[in-house]
């Protein structure tokens, strides 16, 4: 113990030394002369003494060797390797802890300095060389958003596109992995034609389709409810009202008007009405072929019914295909389902025993008196999105070719996100002429022509034109909008690019904050956080329903095991929103980055609050909730999305959680176990049977030599999470060794309370959540871990967040060449209190982002 605390102190001292060196540039007494001489005389002997044994000709742990380096950093051949060595030495990861042969603090600092300054010289020299690929295609997320903003309405278009390259803890937009093949192009073409079929309408006003259904609030129905009342939704056939559409158009916007209010038993003030459209949920066995139209949070009472309007596009709504049943043909159908999705966190039970019809009386009800469906909406005809493309012009009708030329040019300018030149337009005009010769109307020919614009490389790729800077500011405008909106620039950004004002860093800052304040930034935060924190897998972890009968709302019959259905939003949907909303909140409030480790608020709605044991939160809308110590919440580390995603579904998984912490928070790259490594239980051999806690199992695993090197640096990070269960609840007690927990059992447990009582009776032992962190102190549990991270790991955590934002923003991995710009940025962030929104501004102003580096 003494030994380790001593080392911690050395580390602190050393850090202040190197910061001092970095800031002041004052030469220390141990400066090593630069270049070849310094390498031969001091660096090489240093490597030989401390590194070569494991990273040399004999062994090459981690596939890193040092003996072959020639010390010529200026050549730039080995810069990547040098940066790895620099990081390992600077962060004191190497030589590994426990290795007795350690360099002195001053030797280490001098070596770090020598590498760093050599690298810096090279980067300076290399800044004239071409950088890595910047051209990349739009991600599916960007494609979908761009089409929305280009066309002016939202069509689901990315579903059939091949998925983006997806690696845990990496962003989907890495340029070198974003490839296009012929099949992709074919699918882009299909999507483009679908989009143009909707965007350009035929001139004549279409027929309007209507379906109107009413319910009497006075008339009694089953279970003591009235005909207009909807009780709690808890299954495909219960607690919902449906309307089958009589008819509908193929394309166009639809409008649904509902007249609704809430019936609130004492203590309730809010109930959520959700409308979904598609197949009838009763017939559908759970493949989820319906689309949410919207959620209305009702607070008005029956004596004060209100009208609400929801809109959508009919093209996005799945149609139940025609079917033949006992020689009767059922035509294709679309059903609107209205649901009461009230959820107080107690309804979840896939066995249906936790709730029954009596719930409908106790919980708030939706009173739905009217559903009126209408499509297409023709308040103005042709619709605005059509006029945007085929605009009014005196040319139309008389000089068709000239008009067509202007139409194509206008569309291309927006689609290419920059001014277009004559030759570009000419190409597409020629394409138009080919279609025009064979198709009857301007609309038809234009649909085909503009669809081709939408599969052009100028539209599908982010490009940086190499020639004079005419397009530079447009490219910057796009980089900004794709970073913060995942979409094309708006008119304001185009104007600033045109006027040259975007060049001004102060204006860039104003724009960054404007974009962040816009609703479109929500999808950025969601897309970014989901990939940064790798939380998508949370939704596919197979939850053990026997152990956690009340966690998920799933429906029994014909369902996929372990996966909740879209009958109703589930707690995992809310957990996702919790994490995304939490990050949004930090950005909105310009709060310190360190809130991701610990915060004084959580972002919750009622089901989440009940799950975490927080009282006093009502309704389904998520919001910031102040927290108390006894909730054991705060920061990202204790959020369900993280804890559930990194569990087995039955038990916590300290290795997953450790990997998550190191990758997502500390910014380390954790290598996957090599092939042929025996599984955890197998490695422990027969003794695995006796090791009931995973901590014991890990100890056995670590004792194998082949596993030791990695796990000794991994496991300790996961152990402090052990008091949080597989479903992300604080759970300080576990059963005694060798006691098997049985699942919820209808014979033994009449009610859920009985099962809880049983669990309490066997959960008697304190969870052991103590471990000694690599290069750090012993910590017991989450609080201590957070304290340590806040105090000792601030630099790494902030650097990681900055690097994540930057990587996401520019669509490529950062290299050693970006190292010194990042360091500069970190210094500015530190002086500013690590404010998150300001960090995003700094990222956008950085030469790495603006492309003004050389």
């Amino acid at each position: 113990m003494q030994f380790y605390s001593l080392r911690t102190r050395i580390k602190v001292v050393l850090e202040s030394v190197s910061v001092f060196l970095f800031l002041s540039g004052v030469a220390s007494a141990t400066d090593i002369s630069s270049g070849k001489f310094g390498f031969e005389s001091q660096i090489k002997p240093f490597f030989k003494r401390y590194c070569i044994e494991c990273h040399g000709p004999e062994k090459s742990k981690g596939k890193i060797t040092l003996h072959s380096l020639d010390g010529d950093l200026a050549a730039g051949q080995e810069s990547k390797r040098w940066e790895l060595i620099l990081d390992a030495l600077e962060h004191e990861d190497m030589p590994p802890e426990g290795e007795e042969n350690q360099p002195s603090a001053s030797d280490r600092a001098a070596t770090v300095k020598w590498i760093e300054s050599g690298l810096r010289d090279y980067v300076k020299k290399a800044s004239k060389l071409p950088v890595a690929t910047t051209t990349r295609r739009l991600t599916n997320f960007e494609y979908q958003n761009t089409m929305r903003d280009l066309l002016g309405f939202e069509l689901e278009l990315s579903k059939n596109l091949p998925v983006d390259p997806d690696r845990p803890y990496h962003f989907h937009n890495t340029a070198e992995l974003m490839m296009i093949g012929p099949d992709q192009l074919v699918r882009y073409k299909e999507a483009a034609r679908k989009a143009m079929a909707s965007a350009i309408v035929d001139p004549e006003k279409p027929e309007v389709h209507q379906t109107i259904t009413k319910w009497e609030h006075g008339q009694p129905a089953k279970n003591g409810l009235t005909q207009a009342e909807i009780g709690v939704y808890h299954g495909p056939g219960v607690g919902r009202k449906t309307v089958g559409l009589k008819s509908w158009p193929k394309t166009g916007e639809f409008r649904i008007r509902v007249k609704a209010s809430g019936n609130f038993p004492p203590g309730f003030q809010e109930v959520a009405l959700r409308l979904v459209m598609g197949t009838d949920l009763r017939h559908d066995s759970g493949s989820g072929i319906y689309q949410e139209v919207g959620i209305v949070h009702l607070t008005n009472t029956p004596d004060n019914p209100e009208e609400f309007e929801l809109r959508g596009r009919i093209e996005n709504i799945p149609v139940q295909p025609a079917s033949k049943h006992r020689n009767k043909i059922r035509p294709p159908s679309i059903t609107i389902t209205a649901q009461n999705i009230f959820d107080n966190g107690e309804l979840n039970d896939h066995r249906k025993s936790g709730f029954d019809d009596s719930w409908s009386g106790k919980a708030p009800r939706v009173i739905l008196e009217l559903i009126e469906f209408e499509a297409p909406v023709i308040d103005v005809w042709p619709p605005e999105h059509h006029m945007r493309i085929l605009f009014e012009s005196p040319l139309r009708g008389t000089k068709t070719d000239e008009y067509a030329y202007e139409v194509i040019k206008g569309f291309m300018t927006r689609a290419f996100r920059r001014p277009v030149d004559r030759e570009e337009v000419d190409h597409y005009f020629q394409i138009y002429k080919i279609y025009d010769a064979e198709l009857d109307t301007l609309e038809q020919a234009m649909r085909e022509t503009l669809a081709m614009v939408l599969i052009s490389p100028q539209f599908l790729y982010h490009t940086v034109i190499d020639q004079p800077a005419a397009t530079k500011l447009y490219e910057l405008a796009s980089r900004l909008s794709y970073f913060l909106w995942g979409s094309m620039p708006d008119q304001k950004l185009f104007d600033l690019a045109a006027s040259g004002e975007l060049n001004d860093l102060a204006i860039l800052e104003v724009q960054t904050r404007r974009l962040l304040a816009d609703n479109r930034a929500n999808s950025f935060v969601e897309n970014f956080s989901t990939q940064w924190l790798s939380i998508a897998k949370m939704k596919t972890v197979n939850i053990n329903h026997d152990l956690f009968p009340r966690f998920l709302y799933t429906v029994h019959l014909g369902e996929r095991r372990g996966q909740e259905q879209l009958f109703r939003p589930s707690i995992r949907d809310y957990m996702h929103e919790e994490t995304v909303g939490f990050v949004s909140e930090l950005i909105r409030n310009n709060a310190s980055v360190m809130n991701i480790i610990d915060s004084n608020f959580a972002y919750l709605n009622e089901p989440l609050a009940v799950h975490y044991g927080v009282s006093g939160v009502q309704g389904l809308k998520l919001r910031a909730v102040p927290i108390k110590l006894e909730y054991h919440l705060g920061g990202l580390l204790t959020q369900g999305a993280v804890l559930v995603g990194n569990s087995t579904g039955s038990a916590p998984h300290p290795i997953y959680r450790a990997v998550w912490l190191r990758e997502a928070i500390l910014g380390d790259e954790v290598k996957p176990p090599p092939a042929e490594v025996p599984a955890l239980s197998d490695s422990a051999g027969d003794s695995a049977d006796d090791a009931t806690s995973i901590k014991n199992l890990l100890e056995l695993h670590r004792n194998k030599e082949s596993c030791y090197d990695c796990h000794v640096r991994l496991d300790p990070w996961g152990i402090p999470f052990e008091r949080y269960s597989a479903i992300g609840k604080y759970q300080p007690l576990v059963p005694k060794d060798k006691v098997r927990v049985r699942g919820f059992n209808h014979q033994k447990d009449k009610t859920f309370a009985d099962y809880q009582a049983y669990l309490r009776s066997i959960y008697t032992e304190e969870v052991d959540a103590s471990s000694r962190l690599p290069h750090g102190p012993a910590v017991d549990g989450m609080m201590k871990l957070k304290k340590y991270l806040l105090k000792e790991r601030k630099d790494e955590i902030v650097e990681n967040v900055v690097r994540r934002f930057m990587t996401y923003a520019i669509g490529r991995e950062l290299t050693y060449r970006d190292r010194f710009e990042i360091k500069k940025l970190l210094k500015l962030a530190e002086d500013d209190g690590y404010k998150l929104q300001n960090i995003i501004v700094l990222v956008c102003q950085s030469p790495i982002f603006t492309g003004t580096k050389s």
Binding site: V163, M179, V186, P457, V464, Q467
Partner: protein, 445 residues
């Protein structure tokens, strides 16, 4: 919605690879009989099963009965309970033990399926996947049939890095989406014009060719205005346009050949994944029909894909065996569960092999003209990526010799790609090296 442009034909023909042009080989489409003087088709299939097979360390008793490997030692085949469905096919199957792709070693068992048919070194020197063995054959011989290749899977699409839903790739970064809906597969194969008149189809194709020309021109101009590194990126796009141009040409050529009238009798094209046996057999039947009509000669079939928790595949073991857990989990179980699951898979595959064998072709049968790989890059429960389970069947008339279990373990170790080289050469695709191959496998050819 009206379908006017080249798109309609693209949709129907997109399965074709970037094949060289040649005059269509027509007469081969006569059901099972080669025209006089015409060489019989030489075919190849790669099929894949996921989540590992039962391969216990202990080789006796129950462990032996349910071992995926049909017998203990190398030499003439005997069939245990797991492999029993192949007993009647003894002279048409071989088992090859100890083969794998070095390129898949570091990917982890759940991801190495990505490179099963490619052998690409994705986690090492190659940033993305590379051309698959079927596509290489299609490149050389695909022009002989209406479709250069057929790419099937149970989940459809391409999947993502490390969780591919297809076995086939044109080349780096160009996965070919697999098709998984029986009705769609049938239509694309046998009703490619969607009821349109041949003249209209041709007119559309012609128009498309001109449009693609202009797209090409404009894209090249853009390319010239980009930095060096970025030019390469756009080259990918240009390649894709070129491939589409070739397809248009190819499709036009084939419009001069009459379509075969294949009816759907005996096919349940509406079958659901909830009935895995019906579904799997339907996929095998479609593949059989495609071969029988000589619509294509090269195919991949991803019978199961890894990372399938989002699909019904996840429940196959439950639907088939009543196993109370995910398909993934059954591989972690001991002899009977895991073995019965393997046995079910074996039954389906044997069904297909027998169908081919029972269809006469030339002097022998279709199986003798078709070499079939069946296996996995995810050997067993430990998520190892070494020593794949590999069965090779058919192709007797192409030179394959069967009836034995061959061991390539220890100092006999060779890359799995050596087998690919042998297969490629057997289907008239002269090949010296494929992926990490070190030569041509001679043991079974």
């Amino acid at each position: 919605m009206e379908q006017k442009s080249w798109h309609i034909n693209r949709r129907e023909f997109i399965r074709g690879g970037g094949a060289a042009l040649a005059l269509p080989f027509l007469q081969g489409m006569s059901w099972g009989k080669a025209a006089v003087g015409q060489a019989l088709p030489k075919r190849m299939i790669v099929s894949y099963i996921a989540y590992g097979v039962y391969e216990p360390k202990i080789k006796d008793g129950l462990h032996h009965d349910w071992n995926w490997w049909p017998c203990k030692d190398s030499g003439p085949l005997t069939f245990n309970q797991s492999a029993a469905p192949f007993a009647l096919l003894k002279d048409s199957v071989s088992y090859l033990r100890g083969l794998d792709h070095a390129g898949g070693l570091e990917m982890g068992g759940h991801s190495s399926g990505d490179v099963f048919a490619t052998g690409a070194n994705m986690s090492g020197t190659e940033k993305s996947n590379n051309i698959s063995v079927d596509q290489l054959a299609a490149k050389v011989n695909g022009h002989k049939t209406r479709y250069a290749s057929l790419v099937l899977g149970t989940e459809g699409g391409t999947g993502a890095y490390g969780s591919a839903k297809t076995l086939s790739h044109y080349g780096p970064g160009r996965p070919i989406p697999s098709m998984h809906r029986p009705q769609e597969i049938f239509n694309r194969l046998f009703n490619p014009y969607a009821g349109k008149g041949i003249e209209q189809v041709r007119a559309n194709l012609k128009r498309e060719a001109s449009v693609l020309d202009l797209m090409m021109e404009d894209s090249k101009r853009l390319q010239s205005r980009l930095g060096k590194e970025d030019q390469q990126k756009v080259e990918e796009y240009l390649d894709s346009i070129r491939a589409l141009e070739k397809r248009v040409e190819r499709t036009s050529q084939w419009t001069h050949q009459p379509l075969l009238n294949v009816d759907t009798k005996g096919l349940n094209l509406e079958v659901s994944h909830k009935d895995p046996e019906e579904y799997t057999r339907c996929m095998y039947d479609l593949l059989y029909l495609a071969f029988q009509t000589d619509s294509t000669r090269f195919a991949t079939l991803m019978l199961e894909s890894e990372h399938s928790s989002g699909s019904e595949m996840w429940n196959y073991a439950n639907y088939v065996l009543g196993y109370k857990g995910a398909t993934h989990d059954i591989a972690h179980k001991r002899p009977t569960e895991s073995g019965k699951w393997d046995n079910w898979r074996a039954k389906q595959h044997a069904y297909f092999l027998e169908r081919l064998r029972n269809t006469p072709e030339g002097d022998s049968n279709m199986l003798d003209q078709t070499v079939v790989i069946w296996g996995s890059a995810h050997p067993h429960a430990s998520h190892s990526t070494k020593n794949y389970p590999i069965q090779v069947a058919g192709g007797n008339a192409l030179g394959f010799k069967h009836g034995n279990l061959h061991s390539f373990e220890g100092d006999k170790k060779v890359p799995l790609a050596n087998l690919f080289v042998a297969m490629l050469n057997a289907v008239d695709t002269p090949t010296e090296k494929f992926a990490d191959s070190t030569g041509e496998m001679t043991e079974i050819v």
